[in-house]
Each structure stands twice: as C-alpha cells, then as structure tokens.
Amino acid sequence: MSVMQEFTKGLWKEVPPFRLVLGLCPVLAVTTAASNGLGMGLATTFVLVCSNTIISLLRSIIPGKVRIAAFIVVIASFVVIVELTMQAYFYPLYKILGIFIPLIVVNCIILGRAEAFASKNSLIPSVADGLGMGLGFTISLTFLGGVRELLGAGTVFGYALMGSSFQPFEVMVKPPGAFLCLGLILGLMNFISAKK
C-alpha cells in the first residue's frame, strides 16, 4: 500500500475507535466536551507517532520474546513526556483528563499498531500509519465529545449553540450517555458502510 493509503485508512476505513473497536476507555471518559476529546486525541496521536517511529527504527534489534515489554517501555516513556508537558503547559486540560493521561500507555490502539504494523514495516509507512490512526482517533473523539457536549450542555467548544430555553440532556455528559452515544454512532457507521 502506498504511503498515502496508509495515512488515509486511519481516517475512515479503519478509524479507531468506531471501526477498529480498540482503546475504548479514554473514548468514553474524556468525551464530555469537544475540547477534552481534542486534547486527548492530540496527546494520543503524539505518543502513537513517536512510538511507531522508534519501534519501526528498532524493529530489527528488539528480540522477539521481549518485544511486548520493549514496546511498553518505549510507549510509557513517551507517555511520561506527554504527561509532564501537559502538567507544565496545559494544566486545566491535565486536571480534566486526570488519570487517563497515564492510561494512554495501556491504550490498545498504540500497542496494537506497534505490534501489527510498526514492528514489521519501515519508517515512513509506520509514521504515516501512526499519523493517520492518530488523526482519525482525534477526529472521532472530538466528534463524540461534540455530540455529548451539545446534547448535555448545549455548547460546543464552549460556544452556546442551543437557545436559552434548551434543557440540557445531562445524562449525556455522564457515563450512561457515553455508552449510549458510542453505541448509536457505531450503529450509524455500520449503516453508512453498508449503504456504500
């Protein structure tokens, strides 16, 4: 597959988490608002691209038996970098995302792409794959966050979109709403894909 195809497959055909149902924990937790989803998506994209890069470069050196442990060490290092950077420069977002920032290290998407792709392909396709999946993930998170925020608080990115008489559907920004929205969006995507 060409580099461009590696990049674009992460944007629709295999977009996590809607088509590639992986890494659900942060999806449900941080999408209480569109900006939170965006922040988490960008942090995950950074870790994904960096870890794909390093793992692809080192793929011939890492012994087969310890590869999962090696991947985890690489991923964890980048997560610590992201964690400290967010704590220093994006403190409000850091407080909102809370424990889900260190939990990026066990995000199945990152480990999954490292195992399935970066450890078997050269540098440029791996970077493209990481970038595509990461951006797809970011767009999905922002979209889900936007839907939940719109229904649950009447705003998107903090801008009030619904009229003042709108009664927020508050359950949407709570856990039940997360499961419901994701389930219905998955059903919708199945419907759209079937029609094509």
Binding site: G23, L24, C25, V106, K174, P176, A178, F179, G183
Partner: protein, 192 residues
C-alpha cells in the same frame, strides 16, 4: 468497621470502576458474550487488581516517594504490573494448575487492562489511607468490575438471540445496554 463497609459499597456500586469511572471497558465489552468467559475474567481481574495495587502501593511509598521519582510512576507501575502478571502466570502454572486452567487466557490479557493500572493509580491518590484500606479498595473495585461484567453478559446472551436491527447487532446494542446498566448504577449516587 463501618468505614470499610462504606468503602466496599462505594467501590462496588457508587463509583463502580467500569460503569462510573470508565476503567476496564475493553474487556468489559470484549468478553461479555458468554457467561463462563465472563466469570473467568472477573476472577482474574479481582486477583490481579489486588496483587498489583498492593505491590504498586509499596513501590510508590518505599521507592518512588523517598527518592523523589514520582514522575516515573507510569513507567514503574506498568512494568510492575507486566512482570507481576508474567510471574503469577508461571507460579500458578507450576503450583496451582487448576486455578491456572480456569483463569486461562485472561491472565496475560489483563496486563493491558486499564482497570488494573487505573485502580493502582487511583489508590496512590489517597495518601491518608492505611494499607488495609487500600487492600479493601482494590478488592472491592475488582468485585464491582466482576458484578458489572456478569450483569452485562447476562443481558447480552439474551440479546444474541433477540431480533435486534441488523446494523445495531453485536457491539452497538451491547454498548447501549451498558449505557442502560450505567444509568441504573447512577441511581446509587448519594447512597454513601
């Protein structure tokens, strides 16, 4: 004594780690197809969560804090959990093969389970808790996960033979069901 009961009720019902704290969703949705895999997974999660929380708590308080290495918490914890699971697997295989067989494939699968790492990190956020409280918290959190998992599996087993619209079959309707379950558990807020 009452504070321990309150802690258990809070961890199992009010702040259920999967339905209220969003931790452990992947296995929650992944193995809730059949009751035997669900119960196996629940036992494995309780077992690993308790062990992992205890050891990471010790690492946090006797290694990371004294040497001012808190920023290494993520790396340290995940390495501890990965090695612990590996070690436990080998130990069980040799000395308690019956338990090893019943836990089966779920033990290695739990390494990347955000529930385990999540509970470990959550436990360190309560500096004023005694060791026994941490232990009870970890055990109750695992139990809460097991409860939610078993409940969802029961419903999904029935859904598998029900006339669900074709695009919602499988994961979408499972998620909507989980949402209903979460909605029910929301009712426990204010109980403690």
């Amino acid at each position: 004594m009452t504070e321990y009961w309150l802690l258990i009720v809070s961890a199992v019902f009010v702040s259920n780690i999967v339905l209220a704290r969003y931790l452990g969703n992947c296995p929650f949705l992944g193995v809730s197809n059949r009751m035997d895999t669900a119960t196996g997974m629940s036992m494995a999660v309780v077992f690993v969560t308790v062990l992992a929380t205890v050891i990471t708590w010790l690492v946090q308080n006797y290694v990371l804090v004294p040497f001012e290495l808190e920023y290494l918490q993520t790396i340290a914890f995940i390495l501890v959990i990965a090695s612990l699971v590996q070690f436990v697997e080998m130990f069980l295989q040799k000395f308690v093969p019956a338990l090893y067989r019943s836990l089966g494939i779920f033990l290695p699968l739990i390494t990347t389970n955000c529930a385990v790492l999540g509970v470990a990190v959550l436990a360190t956020q309560h500096d004023d808790w005694s060791f026994v409280k941490i232990l009870v918290f970890a055990f109750a959190s695992g139990l809460g996960f097991g409860l939610a998992l078993v409940l969802l599996t029961g419903v999904r087993e029935r859904l598998a033979v029900a006339p669900v619209p074709v695009h919602l079959k499988g994961m979408p309707v499972g998620l909507v069901t989980a949402g209903m379950l979460a909605l029910a558990f929301l009712g426990f807020i204010g109980m403690v």
